[in-house]
């Protein structure tokens, strides 16, 4: 079957999985289940990256997000060994929750309206050869975006040192 025929089906499936598991992330009582559903959400978003011809971003999403970051989350959950919450949302702050949820729904409606008002770019844009490949990303990173790329390394260094200092035993 042609990929053009499959694309809407793949999009619908991946979007549905991302939507449902994203919702399940925020209603779980136990952080471990939330983390596992977050991995599923990130996996389906990675699938959408493939549909959008972003192959390098797909690889980084799977390796860094679904791999490294979520392993870090699971390690911390394991270290803390938190008890299961009785209810995900305490009944006594139900008014605050209703307020927050309704404001969020208003935000969603606003975003949907803004998206609906904009006309989409002309359909079927022809892509240049090598769009989204590691080679093209690397070329851009080391030419046009060289300075931000170097700044990123400093951010990562600061994060490493900061995490080491904060997580050591006698930090008070």
């Amino acid at each position: 079957m042609d990929i053009l025929v499959l694309e809407p089906i793949l999009f619908a499936g991946l979007a549905a999985v991302a939507a449902v598991s994203g919702l399940l992330v925020i209603v779980q009582r136990h952080a471990v289940y939330a983390a596992l559903f977050l991995i599923i959400t990130m996996g389906s978003v990675a699938g959408l990256y493939v549909l959008l011809e972003a192959h390098f971003v797909w690889a980084v999403q799977v390796l860094v997000y679904a791999g490294a970051i979520m392993v870090l989350f699971l390690f911390v959950i394991m270290l803390l060994n938190l008890p299961r919450e009785d209810v995900p949302w305490a009944p006594r702050d139900i008014r605050r929750i209703v307020l927050a949820a309704s404001l969020s729904v208003v935000l969603l409606i606003e975003l949907a309206l803004v998206i609906g008002l904009r006309t989409a770019p002309a359909k079927e844009p022809a892509l240049s050869v090598g769009f989204g490949t590691t080679e093209m990303v690397g070329r851009l990173l080391f030419t046009k975006f060289l300075f931000p790329f170097e700044i990123t390394s400093i951010i990562l260094l600061v994060a490493i040192v900061g995490a080491m200092v904060l997580a050591q035993k006698h930090f008070r």
Binding site: I26, L52, A90, V165
Partner: protein, 101 residues
Amino acid sequence: MTVPLSAYLLLSAYLFVLGVIGVATRRNALIIFMSIELMLNAVNLTFVAFSRFLQSMDGQIFVFFVMAVATAEVAVGLAIILAIYRNRETVDVAELNLLKW
């Protein structure tokens, strides 16, 4: 390219709002943190979708930077949560009221 741009944008708006709800309503610091990751993912999806439809690779480079910053943020943030747990024996943000006046 048969899926319109607005479909991708709507999905990422939905994921972003889920993250907002999680941050605003949950009290477990770890789940609040995961909701922030959900929002970052939604924004990344927007970047990649625009990058595809505008035929410009710049959006994908931005995703790369967002991911680098997110990694740094998770490392430091989880270390802070660990330090808080050592001192207070809880990660419930409602009980962390030292800065509340």
